[in-house]
């Protein structure tokens, strides 16, 4: 038999380039904020309030995306807000993924009573309206970065649990699982070495999606003033402030909104792109 098929390199898609590029830019912006931000994000200058962005006439040089009603630089505030947004996305997204995927995997693979317990919890959880649940949680825990992360994890683990459970169930019915038993692999070992690699593409896609959702939830909580203290700039906080003066200074609302939109979109596209690129099973 001939073996003509070499290693076929798949090109990195445009999707992966664009989403990866935007997220890299954000990470750099967040890390280097003290050096690249043109102004102090908290510095107020009432004489420079509501300056339009640089391409509109009547601006002060150095304020690229204009200023808000208190004269704070919008670009610098977005850059500093990126820090919080990314921390929340990474930490909350990863924790949610770990907890949800583990429970889903156990429920889907072991079935029986672990499945009954976990599934009942998921059903109960899903009956709560998520945003109200988050607001309630923050109100109890008190605002702060840790509370935001806890709230996101507590609300969203069910998303992972449900999807991963279904996926693990369908994989568990495959013959390669029986084959692992014939080979003498333990139940637990089979779950980790046979099932998990096959559920992983789904988990990665969900994880990136979840990171986007975490950014949104943080923005929502900032919007209703339940995120971290008003001193540190957040995208949601900026959107909330911008909303009040949208007729006089649209840029205060629009720029953080665009940043938020692009970030959430990039996270979800990153997941799809990674799947296309690294999943050995061509679809």
């Amino acid at each position: 038999m001939r073996d003509a098929r070499g290693e076929v390199r798949r090109p990195i898609g445009l999707r992966l380039w664009l989403s990866g590029g935007w997220l890299t830019l954000l990470v750099l912006g967040a890390l280097l904020a003290p050096w690249v931000a043109p102004k102090d994000p908290l510095m107020q200058d009432l004489f420079l309030g509501r300056m339009p962005p640089f391409w509109v006439a009547g601006t002060e040089p150095g304020y690229w995306l204009g200023t808000d009603s208190l004269g704070r630089d919008v670009l610098s505030r977005i850059l500093y807000g990126t820090r919080l947004a990314l921390i929340v996305a990474l930490v909350a997204g990863t924790l949610t993924c770990l907890i949800g995927a583990t429970l889903g995997l156990i429920a889907g693979y072991y079935r029986g009573w672990p499945d009954r317990i976990i599934s009942r919890f998921v059903d109960i959880w899903m009956a709560f309206p998520p945003v109200l649940f988050a607001i309630l949680l923050i109100a109890v825990l008190g605002p702060g970065l840790v509370s935001i992360i806890i709230a996101i994890v507590v609300i969203d683990w069910t998303r992972f649990a449900r999807v991963v459970r279904a996926e693990a169930m369908s994989q568990g019915a495959m013959d390669y699982v029986a084959s692992a038993q014939v080979a003498g692999r333990t139940r637990f070992g089979t779950m980790l070495t046979e099932i998990l690699p096959n559920v992983l593409p789904t988990i990665v896609a969900l994880l990136t999606l979840e990171m986007g959702i975490a950014v949104i939830v943080e923005a929502i909580l900032s919007f209703v003033n339940l995120s971290i203290s008003t001193d540190s700039p957040t995208w949601g906080g900026m959107i909330a402030e911008g909303r009040t003066s949208v007729h006089q200074a649209w840029w205060v609302l629009v720029f953080p909104l665009i940043t938020l939109f692009l970030t959430v979109l990039s996270f979800s596209q990153l997941g799809e792109g990674l799947k296309d690129r690294f999943d050995p099973v061509l679809r």
């Binding site: 038999m1 073996d3 013959d175 029986a178 333990t186 999943d279």
Partner: protein, 264 residues
């Protein structure tokens, strides 16, 4: 005797007829089977759909636990051993699955699929053993770096065979392994398996619904019908003078080529 099966019974709960409360009624799938598999035999297990032949195979490999009777493998009663007790002896009886796509983990390379069971049983020289197994089933060694979806159906089934023989088992169960293949791949896989049985001195149980496939390969045949053995004997004899009505029915179902037929 490699396998001694005595009055083997197996029933599974029928979830489709489960009442709202209480337990589901059980369906008797195997109703008391008694037979032996001598060392070095190639035993054909034949029967129609729903005759219990796959269930019998899975019970012999203890993927299912029998509800009655006993299975003795090389003198050890394995009927009710726990998975932990079975694990050290699992390398001695292996299985080749019906569907070569779903029985190979799609996200592992062929080399890993064959080496996985070897690693579990603490064998050394993994690459050498994988290469040997690929040689035996007539696949190029470079296939070790491929994923299952990059192979044809016949090639995948050879990987399934390679995985089973790499452990050098005493017994292999082949469950309908050619039913998903086209006729020429079927012939190749059957020839290969027949050759391996002789070369490695294997004992083989070959499950099929197709008597013509059984005739090529097996020296003894067991005919199953609705969970019971209706006939057992030398394959040649069974084809010459079938005793049970069901066996005659199966024999008549074999399509014979008619050399005198014209296309006109």
């Amino acid at each position: 005797m490699m396998y001694q099966v005595r009055d083997l019974r197996l029933s599974l709960p029928d979830m489709t007829r489960k009442p709202l409360l209480g337990s589901a009624p059980r369906i008797e799938i195997l109703r008391g089977l008694t037979f032996d598999v001598p060392r070095g035999a190639v035993l054909g297990i034949v029967g129609g759909s729903g005759s219990g032949k796959s269930t019998l195979g899975r019970a012999m490999l203890r993927l299912l636990e029998p509800t009655g009777g006993s299975i003795t493998f090389e003198g050890t009663d394995i009927t009710h051993l726990t998975e932990n007790q079975l694990r050290p002896m699992r390398h001695r009886f292996q299985m080749i699955f019906q569907d070569p796509m779903s029985s190979l983990n799609p996200r592992r390379r062929v080399g890993g699929i064959i080496a996985g069971p070897l690693k579990l049983h603490g064998m050394d020289r993994l690459t050498t053993r994988v290469d040997e197994a690929l040689d035996l089933v007539g696949l190029p060694r470079s296939f070790a770096r491929r994923f299952p979806h990059e192979l044809s159906g016949g090639q995948r089934q050879r990987v399934g065979i390679a995985r089973a023989i790499a452990l050098r088992p005493d017994f292999i169960l082949a469950d309908e392994i050619v039913s998903g293949l086209d006729v020429s791949s079927q012939a190749q896989v059957l020839n290969l398996l027949g050759g391996l049985v002789k070369e490695l001195g294997l004992t083989l149980a070959f499950i099929s619904h197709d008597l013509s496939v059984i005739r090529r390969l097996c020296n003894r045949t067991l005919v199953l019908h609705q969970g019971e053995i209706v006939e057992e004997g030398e394959t040649a004899q069974l084809f010459e003078a079938p005793q049970a009505a069901y066996t005659r029915e199966l024999l008549q179902a074999i399509p014979l080529p008619d050399p005198y037929q014209e296309w006109a």
